[in-house]
């Protein structure tokens, strides 16, 4: 039978790593989405903006 402290230590460490990796991927996805939206906004605005007034 596996020692309970050994099991707890390995599980806790990987839980910490997975939670961090999950939070990182969530933040990356959120930023990527926002970046795309803003790039689209800039792209849409460009032709009219570049016209001389």
């Amino acid at each position: 039978m596996v020692n309970k402290y050994l099991l707890l230590a390995f599980s806790a460490l990987w839980l910490i790593f997975f939670l961090y990796a999950w939070s990182l991927s969530r933040r990356q996805a959120f930023l990527r989405k926002e970046l795309e939206e803003l790039k689209n906004k800039v792209g849409r605005g460009r032709p009219s903006d570049s016209r001389p007034s």
């Binding site: 596996v2 020692n3 790593f17 961090y20 990182l24 990356q28 803003l38 800039v42």
Partner: protein, 232 residues
């Protein structure tokens, strides 16, 4: 590094290295005679500490370069290392008591090594809190860099604590001088684990750096469009 090693390849190498490390921890390394199975925590506890030390060295170097050159890349690197280092330092502080309890009969004691490791964790926390709570990004980066530099003094003292003072924490088994050392199979397993943890650290660090780069790009676009920053 992203150009040399794609994120997918880097992740694959990390996973493969981890699998080898786990195989060595549970099937290759011999069982320690006095502590038994629980001693295998050593193979994840000590590498977590080494990575936390490496991370703080990067925080220190990034902070020095930032204050010297005002380089945003150095600041991003220090910030990323601070965040990922905090994760590994937390792992160190979680696995330590889980090893101490069955071996020493106590979860924690305020000896030099444990106290200095806890101080290192507090330094990571202070560094990250400073970055979050100071509203001006330039001021936050400067203040955090100062903490990153001053706090670095803890790293070598923490490393030397078990060599300089008599502690409850075991004396060094790596580079500990006469009378110290490990069984060759245990030593090899430990080295493979240190490598695997550093590989995981570098993967997370690069991902965190990408996030910082995307944030800077976003801020630049927002400034160009005169859009106020969102709450993220």
């Amino acid at each position: 590094m992203g150009k040399i090693l794609s994120p997918t390849v880097h992740l694959f190498v990390t996973l493969a290295w981890m699998i080898v490390a786990y195989w060595m921890i549970f099937l290759y390394a011999p069982q320690e005679l006095t502590m038994g199975e629980v001693q295998r925590i050593f193979y994840i506890h000590a590498p977590s500490g080494w990575v936390a030390g490496t991370a703080y060295c990067i925080v220190f170097l990034g902070s020095v370069v930032y204050l010297w050159k005002r380089s945003p890349l150095a600041d991003d690197l220090a910030h990323a290392a601070g965040e990922v280092g905090f994760i590994f330092c937390s792992g160190l502080l979680v696995t330590g008591p889980l090893w101490a309890k069955p071996v020493w009969g106590i979860w924690w004691t305020w000896d030099a090594r444990l106290t200095l490791s806890f101080v290192l964790w507090l330094l990571f926390v202070s560094y990250l809190m400073l970055r979050s709570y100071v509203s001006s990004p330039g001021r936050a980066a400067t203040l955090a860099a100062v903490v990153g530099i001053i706090g670095f003094v803890d790293v070598p003292i923490d490393y030397m604590a078990i060599r300089w003072w008599r502690t409850q924490h075991p004396q060094p088994v790596i580079a500990g001088g006469e009378g110290s050392g490990l069984d060759p199979r245990m030593f090899l397993t430990f080295i493979v684990c240190v490598g695997a943890f550093h590989c995981l650290f570098s993967y997370l660090l690069i991902q965190r750096l990408r996030l910082a780069r995307a944030r800077r790009e976003l801020s630049a676009i927002r400034r160009a469009l005169a859009i106020p920053p969102s709450e993220d």
